[in-house]
């Protein structure tokens, strides 16, 4: 097992390459998700502002 992680002396290079790629993938998934959520949140606020007097139940359900 140790041999596998050492990769005959190339472990540091191989694992840092795969590690950074994994971090970038996770970060990108998180960034895309965060952006989507904040856009939806803002749309919700806009809709709530416009409809508060008329459509109380809609607003309530959204929270």
């Amino acid at each position: 097992m140790t041999e596998f992680f050492l990769m005959n002396g190339h472990g540091a290079y191989v694992w840092s390459a795969y590690g950074i790629t994994l971090v970038v993938l996770i970060l990108n998934a998180w960034l895309a998700r965060a952006k989507h959520r904040s856009a939806l949140q803002r749309a919700r606020e806009l809709a709530a502002q416009a409809e508060v007097p008329r459509k109380q139940p809609t607003v309530k359900r959204l929270q």
Binding site: F4, M7, N8, G9, H10, G11, A12, Y13, V14, S16, A17, Y18, I20, T21, V24, L25, L27, N28, A29, L31, A32, R33, K35, H36, R37, S38, A39, L40, R42, A43, R44, L46, A47, A50, E51, T58, R61, L62
Partner: protein
Amino acid sequence: MKLPRWFHQLGSPPYVYRLADRLCPWLGGLGVTLLIIGAYWGLVIAPPDYQQGDSARIIYIHPQTAYIGMMAYVVMAVAAAIGYVWRLKLAHAVAVSAAPIGAWFTFCALFTGSVWGRPTWGTYWQWGDPRIMFEALLLFLFLGYLALRGAFDDRDKADRVTAILAVVGVVNIPIVHFSVEWWNSIHQGPTIFRAGGPAMTNDMLVPFLIMVAAFTLTFYWLLLRRLQAEIIEREGDTRWIRELVAEGAP
């Protein structure tokens, strides 16, 4: 000539938003599954290279991330051109969404290349190597595009001005691709698409191609998710967006 219906539908934000909703679970699910399979295959099952040893396992991520960076740029430039010529808001939204993803993958290509270069060429970075230089330029084109966008308050104006930068910068893509043939480079020449077929045996070619597919699917998954956010921001307080949030979208 009468354009087919799907062509018009692709210009409709609500249609594209819902299409993305349907495609994303497949793209993301399949992309991540293939990433895991490809990484396991490349790190564990595939043999070490007879010359480079285990450092050659970086070949399952380095060319792929570089290719995604270039594809992201082409997607961005084509979308920006369409948006500029036909004043299509949705096309501009695609261009904006591709830029940060492309920048991240290009950074990844530069990093993985750097740590591959150390054991293979004896250096992390080679000033003057054409492919490294033009790949670095690609990263700066993405960053420049994003910085230029940030300089405008008016979104329409930002769309039009940055579209010009995106389209002009696309000349860099064939330069990156052919740099190893046009100039002396410490990079190796083409490995897969070359006369006489791929210079790679199947035990390495299969995980290589799995990772190409995995990164491609993952890229389009990320692109569509960002596009959805961009569509909501651009559509603002319209009726279909109100209906969308009223449905209790997450």
